[in-house]
């Protein structure tokens, strides 16, 4: 979202200042000393440098001017029109065009004189040429002096324009002068607009910001519009017309039903009908202001009819938007800024209408499908028609009911307020402590004892730790040892032998397992080539599985298919030793057999789009895959592991650092 910042334009110097700046720059930043006795080339270079340097500076500064001023065709049409209304597009373009021509002229002058300087054969001649060149460039700049002054004026004014973002949520306020627009904006935003009893107090657009439903809205106050034919409008009114025409905003048309602004309801309704074409596609709300002086019911019959007419027009825009025709209350509202009744209601209604319209437009646009593609709400398919409502246990329901009748829990805040407020009552933070004895709650805990911090020694598990410590010191161990020794003495020598054997085997198994675990490294623990004893066969697997109670046939089949393929391959290899005519046949067989082993993982084909992946259709998916592969291709060709692999395999490749050249010298390698 581009925020137009016209404040960033650099100051445009006047013609004379411009010349001064550039010439003094040249004098400071180029060498200044040259003598008659120098070589003629050196003298020439000295003066050519000055001419070129001056031209570069002029070019630079004029280019910044041309680039920083906005092009009226490139910016948002609202700003384009506003600038046209305020400054006249043609003058603006002419001034910038003159600066452009000056820039080109200066370039040409520099080119011509640098060419002439090449023929300079004395210091005097070169110097005279340089003086002539700089003089001509300065004359060109002096001639554009008036344009520069004009552009500086424009720049100062542009920097003071209110920063209106034409793309965000906007509410526009329009109506006759003195109906209460500025007081309304003062009430709902922090903008401090001048409110005076005379007409045309507001002479330009004013911006304020307000919030609604956690979103920021900008409110634009316009100068009052009189009911005149379009050509007769002055610049101030044209500002409001421009805003109405180009900004996609909710429009609040203000109506003064008391007539204290000096214009009758008839005049105001005439204005409404003359500018109603500008309200196309915009949510429109007619606001009747100053109800404290005159209520809406109390006006005369003709006025009521006019108001009804306006209301029906506004309803037309409502229906035209595609919304359901709600009650007319949404279109015609009354309020009074003096007594502040109805002000918030008007603001809410306008914000609501604007938000609805913007959301609708966004839903219809193309961009939304980009977002929607990425979402996939997965709903489980219903297995049957049974309804499965949420299950809440009975105890919870009862507890909830009890709590409901018990009423609200008393909060600390309420307690504080009861007991005298914030400064008077201090809550006792210790009353919810969980302690072994309740009397300990209000105790003061010492912080320092015997020169040590008590908190360094506080530990909730201190008794448990003590037990463990004692265990380690072997006090409990001794007790256990006694028990074990007694057991061993009871056994017969044969049983003792068996026990020792068992223990040995157990320790061996543990050791073996430990070795296996540390050296396995995600590989199968016994690779086939080391299984010399052929302990791990498919029959053994089948026997073990059946002993567990499972059906081994499927597993054996799967394993067999892999191994069978391998075996076949070996046998055809032997036959290949004889030269055969149907070699192609064999190759095909080879390929078809090995294919069973090559599919390591089952994947769906690339065309099929699974919802939730984020692709619009299969073509996009294929393209995404292609792009992914292409981005990796170059890296793979360089034999690099990844994006961060900056390894250069050979820092001094031989072909670059040795050998003679067919023509030329070898001083550079």
């Amino acid at each position: 979202m581009v925020q137009y910042n016209f404040k960033k334009i650099t100051k445009v110097p006047t013609g004379k200042d411009f010349v001064d700046i550039v010439l003094s720059r040249t004098q400071r930043q180029t060498p200044t000393v040259v003598h008659k006795g120098y070589a003629i080339n050196r003298i020439r270079q000295f003066y050519m440098r000055k001419v070129k340097f001056t031209q570069t500076n002029f070019h630079e500064k004029l280019s910044t001017i041309i680039e920083e001023f906005p092009r009226l065709d490139d910016i948002h049409p609202f700003y384009g029109d506003l600038l046209h209304v305020l400054y006249n597009k043609d003058h603006y373009k002419l001034a910038l065009g003159q600066i452009n021509t000056a820039r080109n002229l200066i370039g040409k002058i520099a080119k011509d004189y640098v060419k002439l300087l090449k023929y300079g054969d004395s210091l005097y001649r070169c110097k005279a040429l340089k003086v002539a060149a700089l003089g001509r460039m300065c004359t060109v700049t002096k001639r554009i002096g008036p344009s520069l002054a004009y552009l500086d004026q424009i720049r100062q004014h542009m920097a003071r324009l209110p920063s209106i973002d034409p793309n965000t949520r906007t509410i526009l306020i329009c109506g006759y002068p003195n109906v209460g627009k500025s007081s309304f904006i003062n009430k709902i935003t922090r903008a401090d607009v001048d409110v005076q009893p005379y007409a045309f107090t507001t002479k330009s657009l004013f911006v304020g910001h307000t919030d609604y439903k956690y979103l920021r809205y900008q409110v634009i106050d316009t100068p009052g519009i009189l009911d005149r034919p379009f050509e007769d409008r002055n610049i101030i009114e044209m500002c409001s017309i421009t805003a109405l025409a180009h900004l996609r905003a909710a429009v609040l048309f203000f109506l003064d039903i008391s007539g204290s602004c000096g214009y009758t309801i008839a005049q105001q309704s005439a204005l409404f009908h003359s500018i109603k074409s500008l309200f196309m596609n915009k949510p429109l709300i007619i606001v009747c202001n100053k109800t404290d002086l005159q209520s809406l019911e109390g006006i005369s019959e003709d006025d009521k009819k006019l108001v009804e007419e306006m209301k029906s027009e506004a309803m037309k825009t409502l229906i035209g938007q595609g919304g359901e025709p709600r009650e007319g209350a949404e279109v015609l509202l009354t309020m009074s800024t003096l007594t502040e009744e109805g002000v918030i209601a008007v603001k809410n209604a306008a914000c609501e209408r604007l938000l609805d319209q913007r959301v609708e437009v966004k839903m219809k646009s193309k961009k939304i499908s980009d977002c929607l593609n990425r979402f996939h709400v997965a709903v489980p398919k219903p297995r049957d028609q049974k309804e499965r409502p949420p299950c809440i246990p009975q105890a919870v329901l009862e507890a909830k009911a009890k709590e409901a009748e018990k009423g609200k829990k008393k909060l600390e805040k309420d307690l504080e307020e009861e007991n005298g407020g914030a400064g008077v009552y201090s809550a006792s933070l210790k009353k919810h402590y969980l302690l072994a004895h309740d009397e300990w709650k209000e105790d003061n805990m010492p912080e320092i004892l015997d020169g040590h911090n008590v908190y360094d020694f506080v530990d909730p598990d201190i008794l448990q730790r003590l037990e463990e410590l004692e265990k380690e010191e072997g006090l409990l161990q001794e007790q256990e040892d006694d028990e074990v020794e007694m057991d061993v003495e009871d056994l017969t020598p044969q049983q003792q032998k068996e026990l020792a054997e068992i223990r040995k085997k157990k320790s061996m198994l543990i050791r073996e397992h430990r070795i296996k675990k540390s050296t396995a490294e995600n590989r199968p623990i016994v690779p086939r080539k080391f299984d010399k004893d052929k302990k791990f066969t498919s029959e053994r697997m089948g026997r073990q599985l059946s002993s567990l109670g499972l059906d081994p046939s499927k597993a054996i089949e799967r394993v067999r298919s892999k191994s069978r393929g391998r075996k076949r391959e070996r046998s055809t290899g032997v036959d290949d030793m004889n030269v055969d005519d149907d070699g192609s046949n064999k190759k095909m067989r080879l390929r078809s057999l090995s294919r069973s082993a090559s599919r390591s993982r089952s994947r769906p084909p690339t065309d099929v789009v699974i919802p939730g992946e984020g692709f619009k259709d299969s073509a996009q998916k294929i393209k995404a895959f292609k792009l992914g592969k292409k981005s990796v291709q170059k890296r793979n060709k360089d034999a690099r592991k990844g994006e961060g692999d900056r390894v250069i395999p050979t820092l001094k490749p031989k072909h670059l650092f040795s050998g003679k050249r067919s023509n030329g010298k070898t001083t550079r390698r």
């Binding site: 003094s24 001649r125 005279a128 911006v207």
Partner: protein, 260 residues
């Protein structure tokens, strides 16, 4: 008042500061002293520029002061004496003027013989040959020195093709060939950028005329169809003579005065 004019808005609502006007007055009074300080302290090129500007300002100020001081007082009016007015005691005599009357044709003939024309620059500084020509060494051993390069501005016609490089003695570099001149009309006092038609006469010699060298004082012929001059007979004048008034090789352009 636009929304961004905080200073003016504050002034409108709260008025000026209590000492605002006094401060302003005193600041303006101090400006004079500050300016004299900078004038005395500024050194180098800044000082020179400031002094020049200040001098111009002072001169202008003096003129305006003198203008203001002009009083509407009455002064004596001097009657101009007529030409040929004779004092009272000679009124009766016949005035006879004795002078040799020469006819116009004789005068013209004399002028032509003398070679003096009625031009804005009757005398110019002569240009030496070594200033005009630069010797170019050619040949395998760079010993031949018969070629010359012209170091001044030249004019060659439109259909000009140079001689084959092996045989051309005088080289007229392209960078120094000019086709247009800035011609001033002496009575209208305005300058036009006119195309040259040819070089009529170079005061340094007939050789330079034939080469087309344009130096100060050269008579050139320019295309004046732009000016829209018409002879009394009704024919349109499209070529006129002009004399060059500057050194074109030092300025990069040819400035001339039209000979009417």
């Amino acid at each position: 008042m636009p929304q961004g004019d905080y200073i003016e808005l504050h002034r409108k609502r709260n008025g000026y500061r209590l000492d605002h006007f006094e401060k302003k007055r005193k600041k303006e009074a101090r400006e004079v002293h500050k300016r004299s300080q900078t004038a005395q302290k500024a050194l180098g090129i800044k000082g020179k520029m400031f002094a020049k500007k200040r001098y111009a300002e002072k001169a202008q100020m003096k003129k305006t002061l003198a203008m203001h001081e002009e009083s509407s007082s009455r002064r004596k009016v001097d009657d101009d004496v007529h030409d040929g007015a004779v004092p009272a005691y000679l009124l009766d005599r016949d005035a006879t003027t004795r002078a040799k009357v020469l006819s116009n044709t004789v005068k013209q003939k004399r002028k032509e013989k003398a070679g003096k024309w009625d031009v804005p620059l009757p005398k110019v500084r002569p240009v030496a040959e070594d200033e005009m020509f630069k010797v170019i060494r050619t040949g395998k051993r760079k010993t031949k020195q018969w070629k010359r390069m012209i170091t001044k501005v030249t004019f060659v016609g439109q259909g000009f093709t140079r001689k084959p490089p092996k045989y051309e003695r005088f080289i007229r570099p392209t960078g120094l060939r000019f086709t247009k001149a800035h011609v001033t009309h002496p009575e209208l006092k305005c300058t036009f950028n006119l195309e040259m038609i040819g070089v009529k006469k170079n005061p340094n010699g007939p050789m330079y005329t034939s080469l087309g060298v344009v130096t100060k004082g050269t008579i050139i012929e320019v295309n004046v169809s732009e000016l829209g001059l018409v002879t009394p007979a009704g024919k349109v004048v499209w070529g006129k003579y002009a004399q060059v008034t500057n050194n074109p090789e030092n300025d990069g352009c040819i400035n001339a005065v039209l000979l009417v």
